[in-house]
């Protein structure tokens, strides 16, 4: 089991620590609902140090071939993502954020559960060098509807992308204007020392600490997928409706993707919205039904404090992709009505 190096400062902020993807991480501080509303109305920060941080060096053509989006034609000091590494069946090896530093240096942020798999997969499929920076730096995301008010207050300049900058006299490795919340914000990689100082400043300025439960409810409102729940090695970007590829270049899995574009998909990822007042939460694997016919399954669900209702997502047979129609979800031997709808929910 790994543990975030920011644990001490987070425990002082009353973090409720739990396990995610083999990491001890803050699950919540007060309640995930308060944290969620802070992201949607002001600002909050998340410790996301569990995510894999890799530096790749070598020929850009080799790296470009691994990635489903056009990486090579990107400018330096730009983020390319979200994109994905696909297997030869076009299933997800991982969905990732990538950064082009120069023509021979690249960064990747992987899902925590896939860090080692991605390192091995890159080595197997290329002659690129991979350096694992996951344990050298920590990573936080500062996110929210009014995030710039706070970021300017802590004098962390509103940067689109900056490498090796100084903050409070210490090294910040990366600042990137990105996140996973649907709100504006930045993600920052730095040593635990400098990030702890940034956290202290954020808290002093009223930015709420938020945990991974909130991160999960926030991403579901946007319809963002979580690896291991909504996508895996057997799901393609077409089935997930996750537009992480460009067909104007070559990459692993492209042939299968084109084949599937021609034949069409058997199942498709959709949003599910329960009625107001319904407080049963569908769980992963719960069946989706029309009458007594099983047409799909749930992959994620949560209670959205912003919408004040239960939302979720899952896969249904594409013949039943009837957006706007209400189907049933079998939750603990009970049928609960849910409307099929597109993303985002908000």
């Amino acid at each position: 089991m790994f543990s975030t190096p920011l644990l001490d400062i987070e425990l002082k902020l009353n973090a409720d620590i739990g396990e995610f993807a083999g990491w001890q991480m803050p699950m919540k501080y007060t309640s995930y609902q308060e944290e969620h509303m802070a992201v949607r109305s002001s600002a909050a920060f998340f410790d996301i140090s569990h995510m894999g941080r890799l530096k790749v060096s070598g020929k850009i053509d080799e790296f470009d071939y691994l990635i489903a989006k056009n990486f090579k034609s990107s400018q330096n000091n730009k983020m390319v993502g979200p994109t994905a590494f696909l297997n030869d069946k076009a299933g997800f090896v991982d969905d990732v954020m990538t950064y082009k530093i120069s023509d021979n240096e690249f960064l990747i942020v992987t899902n925590a559960i896939n860090r080692e798999k991605v390192i091995n997969w890159i080595k197997k499929n290329s002659s690129l060098d991979v350096e694992d920076l996951t344990f050298k730096y920590v990573m936080i995301a500062i996110q929210g509807r009014r995030v710039w008010d706070y970021i300017e207050k802590i004098e962390l300049q509103p940067l689109e992308f900056k490498l090796n900058t100084k903050f409070l006299g210490e090294d910040v490795f990366l600042v990137s204007r990105s996140g996973w919340t649907g709100e504006d914000g930045v993600e920052v990689w730095g040593t635990p020392e400098v990030i702890a100082k940034i956290i202290q400043r954020l808290v002093a300025r009223g930015v709420k600490p938020a945990g991974l439960i909130c991160r999960d409810s926030i991403r579901q409102e946007m319809g963002f997928v979580l690896y291991g729940e909504d996508i895996d090695e057997n799901i393609t970007p077409l089935e997930a409706r996750y537009w992480v590829f460009s067909l104007d270049k070559d990459f692993i899995g492209k042939e299968r993707l084109i084949e599937q574009l021609k034949t069409g998909v058997d199942k498709v990822r959709v949003g599910l919205k329960l009625k107001k007042g319904e407080r049963s939460i569908p769980r992963k694997g719960n069946k989706i039904k029309i009458f007594d016919k099983e047409i799909g399954y749930v992959t994620s669900s949560t209670f959205s404090p912003y919408l004040n209702r239960v939302i979720g997502m899952g896969y249904i047979n594409s013949k039943h992709a009837l957006f706007g129609y209400s189907v049933d979800i079998e939750i603990r031997n009970k049928l609960v009505e849910a409307k099929i709808q597109d993303f985002p929910f908000i």
Binding site: D16, G18, Y32, R279, S280, I281, R283, R332
Partner: protein, 140 residues
């Protein structure tokens, strides 16, 4: 001392009885008020829904009578005693988070008219329940 604190964070009140499945029952005359313990609400994390029993229902000790839905899991709530459900906490329908905020007070779930007082001696005292939590948490 009116309460025991286990593992630095789980509160257990001395004025009531407990079950191995983490319910508490506060007994006044022949009425028992039932809820879930501080330990249970912390383990479930954020509670977002509660299914309450019907008033008038006759239940046996150990029957599943309510469901607490948290962001993590759905948990059955078992009646600690046999009897008739005579009241339910309707505030939980719109504010299930009361269980997180005040598990031993405003977060109560139902009241039962106790039909067999002999069952009370099978329940756990605060001390015994605190030993159980220590075992569950690997503190002994």
């Amino acid at each position: 001392m009116a309460e025991i604190i286990v593992g630095g964070k789980y509160r257990i009140l001395r004025d009531r009885y407990y079950t191995e499945t983490d319910e508490w029952v506060l007994i006044e005359n022949n009425i028992g008020t039932v809820g879930i313990t501080d330990y249970a609400q912390k383990k479930l994390r954020d509670i977002v829904g509660v299914e309450l029993p019907e008033i008038g229902r006759e239940v046996k000790a150990g029957d599943a009578v309510a469901v607490v839905e948290s962001i993590k899991a759905a948990a059955d709530i078992y009646s600690p005693l046999s009897g008739k459900i005579i009241d339910i906490n309707r505030k939980l329908v719109d504010s299930p988070e009361l269980i997180n905020k005040d598990p031993y007070g405003d977060g109560w779930i139902f009241k039962i008219e106790i039909s067999n007082k002999n069952e009370i001696e099978k329940l756990l005292s605060a001390e015994k329940y605190s030993e159980l939590i220590k075992q569950k948490e690997g503190l002994v």
